[in-house]
Amino acid sequence: MLTAKDVRQALLIGLWFMFLTFPLLVIKVNTIEDTIIWRWNNMFIIGGVCFVATLALRSGRRLLVQKKQEDASLKNSRLSSRIRTHLHHKMVYLPLLSLVLLFFILFPTQFSTYQTTIMTTALMYVVLGLGLNIVVGVAGLLDLGYVAFYAVGAYSYALLNLHFGLGFWTVLPVAGLLAALFGVLLGFPVLRLRGDYLAIVTLGFGEIIRMVLENWSEFSHGPSGISNIPRPGLFGLDLSLNQSIIYTYYLMMLMVAFTIFVVNRLQNSRIGRAWFALREDDIACQAMGIDKTRTKLTAFALGAFWAGMAGVFFAAQNTYVSPKSFTFLESAIILCVVVLGGMGSIIGIILGALILILLPEYLRAISDYRMLVFGATLVLMMIFRPQGIISTVRRTYTLKR
C-alpha cells in the first residue's frame, strides 16, 4: 500500500510541522510573570501525529481512488446520488419524514429541558439559515451582516414589549416586517455592488446596527441590554419554567415548518427562478427582462424577514437581549450553516444548522478544544464536501397535457 516515497513525504511533513509549531507550542512565555517554559515533548507529539496522519491519509486516499476507478463505469454509483434517488421515492421518504418528525415531536419528552433549549436554539438557526439561504444561496448575494436583521427582530420584541407592552404574537409579524424594511434599506445603497464589495458593505451594516445598539443607550439600553422579556404566552396561562421551555420548543418547531413551507414555495416559483438566474448571470438575467433592482430587493427583504422573526424567538427564549449577541461571528456561523449545508438545499441547511449548533454543545466535554475542533471541522468539511452536505438539485418539471 505505502511506498518508501510516502514514508519520506510523511517524514518531511512531520518535520515541517515540528518547525512550524515550534515557537508557539514549544516555548510558552508569560511576560507578566517573566517566565519562559520549554515544552519539548509537544514538538515530538506534533511530529509524530503529523507523520501518522499523513500516512493514514495517503493510504486512505489511495484506497478511495482505487474504489473510484472500480466504480467509474457505473454512473450514479456515488452514495449521495444514490441516496438522493432513493429519497425521491415516496415509499422511502414519507416514512423517513414521519420518523424524523416523530423524533422532533417526542424530543422534549425524552430529553432534559436543557437539551430542549439547545435544540430550540438549533431550530432557530434552521430558520436563520433558511432565511439567509434566500439571499446567499438562491440569489447569490453574499451577505456578511445578516445578524443585523436578527438583532432588529430581537430588539423589536424587547423594546415594543418594554414600552408598549406588546406581546410575543403581536410582535412576531411586526418584527419580521421591520427586518424586511431594514433589508430594503440595506438593499438600496448596495444594489450596484458586486460580489465581495457587497460582502464588506453588509458586514459594515451589521456592525453599524450593533454599534448603534451599544451606544444609543436612551433607545436600546446600551451594552447592559434589556432583561425580563416575557416568554411566549399561551392564552394567558401561567406556565412553569419547564413548561414554558417546552412550549417555546414546539412553537419553534412550528416556525421551522412554516419557514420550510414558505421558502420551498418561494424557491419554486417565478420569483425563485429569477433569484437563481440572478445568481447565475446577472447580465443575461436583465437581458431576459428581469428587473435586477426589484429582484435583489425582494431577496434582501424576504431573507431579512425570517431573521426578524427568529430574533423575536431569540429574545423570548433568553428573556434577555444585548448587543453582544449580535456580533460578526454570528453572521459568519449562519453563513457557515448555509454553505456547509449546501447552498439552495433546504434539507442541507437543516442538517447544517443541527450539526453546527449541536456540535459545539456536545463538544463541551472537551471544552478547551471545542472551538479548535469546530474550526478544524469547518475546514475539513469544506475540503471533503466543497459543495456542502447536500448539493442543490434543481426541480424537474413535467409537461401536463
Partner: protein, 235 residues
C-alpha cells in the same frame, strides 16, 4: 514527435475520451475534427497536462509527459491556444504578448518577435496599450495566437482558431498557420469546427466521435470521403 497511446480521460465520473491514440510527426499540420462535445478540446487539455489522463500514455519526443505538470510540459516546447482565447483581460496587449515569452530570456529575440507579430496583425499594434479584455472577439483570437507564437513553440496546439473570426481574418490566420509551419517548421496540431478549411490546410486528419477516434487518413482523402462530407462538411 507526439504520440498519444490509448488514453482515457475523465471529468469526475464522466469519461470524455475512450482509448484515444494518435500521432503527430515532426513538421506536420495535423487536424482533429469532430462534432461538438466529441472530446477535441479534452484531447488538447490532456496533452497540455491540464486534465491528466487516467490511463494510457502521451509521449513527446520519446518522453512520457502524461503525468507531468503543465508548466513542465510547456517548457518542452508545447504551447496551446485554448478554446475561448483566454486573454488576460487587465493586461495590455503588449503585456499579454510578453506573457507568452514568460520563460524566454533573450530580450532581443523577444523584441524581434514582437515586431514580427505587429506586422502580422497591425490591429494589435494599434491597440497595444489597451487592456486585452476590451478587444473584440476577433482581436482577442489574434492576440491569443500571437501570444503563443511569442513562446516560439515547437508544437503548437490550436483549438478552434477560426471561431468568431471575419472571413478575411480567418483566411489570414490559416495563411499564417501555414507560414509558421513552413517557415519556422513549427509542428501544428489543429482542432477545428470549420472542417473544410482545416482539411484544406492540414496534411493529415483524425476524426473524433464521442471520445473515440473513428477515422484517420490523409487530409485530402478525408475531404473527399462522402461520410465525412455528409457529417461534417455540410455538403
Amino acid at each position: 514527435m507526439l504520440e498519444i497511446k490509448n488514453i482515457d480521460v475523465f471529468y469526475g465520473n464522466i469519461q470524455a475520451l475512450h482509448g484515444v491514440s494518435l500521432r503527430v510527426n515532426q513538421g506536420e499540420i495535423i487536424t482533429l475534427i469532430g462534432a461538438n462535445g466529441a472530446g477535441k478540446s479534452t484531447t488538447l487539455m490532456a496533452i497540455s497536462g491540464i486534465v491528466p489522463p487516467r490511463s494510457g500514455s502521451i509521449l513527446f519526443e520519446g518522453r512520457d509527459i502524461s503525468a507531468m505538470a503543465a508548466d513542465e510540459i510547456f517548457k518542452l516546447g508545447l504551447c496551446q491556444v485554448p478554446e475561448g482565447r483566454h486573454i488576460f483581460p487587465e493586461l495590455t496587449v503588449t503585456e499579454n504578448l510578453d506573457m507568452g515569452a514568460f520563460l524566454r530570456r533573450d530580450s532581443k529575440g523577444i523584441a524581434q518577435d514582437l515586431e514580427y507579430i505587429y506586422q502580422l496583425f497591425p490591429i494589435l499594434a494599434k491597440r497595444r496599450h489597451q487592456p486585452g479584455g476590451n478587444l473584440s472577439g476577433g482581436e482577442q483570437q489574434m492576440l491569443a495566437i500571437s501570444r503563443a507564437l511569442m513562446s516560439r513553440p515547437r508544437l503548437l496546439l490550436l483549438d478552434e482558431p477560426s471561431m468568431g473570426l471575419a472571413p478575411l481574418i480567418t483566411k489570414q490566420i490559416f495563411d499564417i498557420i501555414r507560414t509558421i509551419n513552413q517557415e519556422q517548421h513549427t509542428t501544428i496540431f489543429l482542432v477545428e469546427q470549420n472542417a473544410n478549411l482545416a482539411l484544406q490546410t492540414a496534411h493529415r486528419g483524425y476524426v473524433l466521435e464521442n471520445g473515440r477516434v473513428v477515422m484517420q487518413d490523409q487530409a485530402a482523402e478525408l475531404l473527399s470521403n462522402t461520410a465525412i462530407q455528409k457529417a461534417y462538411l455540410g455538403i
